[in-house]
Amino acid sequence: MNKVIAGRAIEVNEEGYLKNFSQWSTEVAHEIAKEHNLNLTPKHMKVIDYLQEQHKSESPLTIRKVGKSGVVDIKEFYELFPNGPLKTSTKIAGIPKPASCI
């Protein structure tokens, strides 16, 4: 389905995750963040960059992995994206929701 985000029609799934990363932009990220009552700071954006890089290299994402990334520790990750940080941050990053597997 399509959803208007930052003035453009963006294709998302039923949970609101972007279906097509090429439609992602910083504006889109800010809009999705607002829906979660978040204001993106440069620190948030560093995490988002990291998540997108990992996604590109097809490396599975877990909270443990983000905590060991050197970008944030787990505590900071929760402070930046409260309540299910991996789910929220990946949605803002425009990448699929990590299948926390099996």
Binding site: R64, K75, Y78, P82, G84, A99, C101, I102
Partner: protein
């Protein structure tokens, strides 16, 4: 003489040694199995031991009983693998060169990964049931426990047998009912996942059962620490859950030897091709069972299906033929739901568990994703099948290696 070395004599290592012993030419290949333990544990039994359904002697047998006579069993501790020079170094200094290496060292709990988990209360009011010792200590605790807040908890994914903690909660409900003390026990199921299970249709069915059994669920809980003084678990977001008895599944990690050998990922699982079961980095190293990082359940049934495909791929590798990309992530698990009933789920990498009949489409006798007594009988019969057929590498009649779509109600 060529040599094939198998590291680990658990479920996966024992099965593959039996398969290969039948298939490889004994004049050309010698097979070694290395494990530090001399006992084989029937791990599904760890679920029943705490509730006095099985006794210790039901689930422990000598490892050697299940290793073929022609296979050399070495009982010693592994130091590390040198994958560039094709040898395994033991802690006693012995060296075993190999032409082919199969890693089957499994996964183990690592409670030390969570702050306070292995603290003052460990084995007093904080227990695991993923080890024989843990399950036994928990049995002794439950025998005299007078009730209170029971918290069944998963630390992080992936874990061995992802349905086991749910089964534990269901069996606890049933156990306390039989002891006429269910009203004295509050059961809470705490998970880092967003729901009861990892797959949507099974999650719906299982959450329904949790409600029916009056078990509360707390989802999206990522534990930061165990507070031993106030008996609480605390998550990174600041959420707190108090307990009188905490039954936790600690972080699961592959064997330390994998880390010492530089062969694993951040949880010591070996990066493995999910279709061929060959190591991604070394062409003469293969991985079976829980030791790999393939996105399938860490479960004995998965290792069983893997063993059939891996045997074929080892032979293809020896004959310099391309490997078959056939493993589909097939898993088949009984889920005990208490009161003499169980569910059965059958799924793979791409198909989630759904309702239907198994193994015969339209007939059963087992029902998929539905509670039945027949499923429970199946689970109990499975212990016999495990000791007498599965470990010996006997093909199970009517159960195919790849998942069957027939008999499943996908929509």
């Amino acid at each position: 003489m060529n040599r094939l070395v198998i590291l680990g004599a658990g479920t996966a290592g024992t099965m593959i040694s039996n398969h290969l012993n039948k298939e490889l030419n004994e004049n050309e290949w010698e097979i070694y199995v290395i494990d530090e333990r001399d006992k084989h544990y029937y791990q599904p039994g760890y679920l029943f031991l705490p509730f006095d359904i099985y006794q210790p002697e039901d689930i422990v047998k000598p490892t050697k009983e299940f290793i073929p006579d022609a296979v050399k069993f070495i009982q010693a501790k592994i130091d590390k693998v040198n994958a560039d020079e094709n040898y395994v170094k033991m802690q006693n200094g012995d060296i075993f060169h190999y032409d082919i290496l199969i890693i089957a060292t499994g996964t183990d709990i690592a409670p030390e990964e969570t702050k306070g988990m292995k603290g003052e209360e460990w084995k007093k009011s904080v227990f695991d049931f993923y080890t024989f010792e843990g399950a036994l200590a928990l049995r002794n605790k439950l025998r005299n426990w007078e009730g209170g807040k029971l918290v069944v908890h998963i630390t992080e994914m992936p874990i061995k047998c992802p349905v086991a903690p749910l089964e534990f909660a269901f069996l606890a409900d049933s156990y306390f009912k039989h002891k006429n003390m269910r009203d004295k026990v509050e059961i809470t199921y705490v998970t880092p996942l967003s729901g009861a299970f990892t797959k949507p249709k099974a999650t719906a069915a299982l959450e329904h059962l949790l409600t029916e059994k009056n078990i509360k669920i707390e989802s999206d809980f990522a534990i930061e620490s165990v507070d031993n003084v106030n008996k609480k678990i605390v998550d990174y977001g600041g959420k707190e859950i108090s307990f009188d008895l905490l039954v936790t599944v600690p972080t699961n990690k592959g064997n330390d030897m994998i880390e010492r050998s530089g062969l694993g990922d951040d949880l010591n699982y070996v990066p493995t091709n999910k279709s061929t079961l060959r190591s991604k980095e070394h062409e003469n190293i293969f991985v079976i069972g829980d030791a790999s990082n393939v996105p399938a359940s860490k479960a004995g049934s998965v290792a069983h299906f893997e063993a059939e495909i891996l045997t074929e791929n080892i032979i293809r590798y020896i004959n310099k033929q391309p490997l078959k990309e056939e493993f589909d992530g097939h898993a088949n698990c009984f889920i005990e739901t208490g009161n003499g009933k169980a569910l059965l789920i059958d799924f793979n990498y791409t198909h989630e568990p759904v309702e239907g009949e198994f193994p015969f489409p339209g007939v059963g006798p087992l029902k998929l994703l539905k509670e039945s007594r027949m499923n429970h009988m199946g689970k109990l019969a499975f212990r016999w099948i495990y000791w007498n057929m599965l470990l010996k590498g006997t093909h199970l009649p009517f159960v195919s290696t790849s998942m069957q779509e027939a008999g499943k109600h996908f929509n």
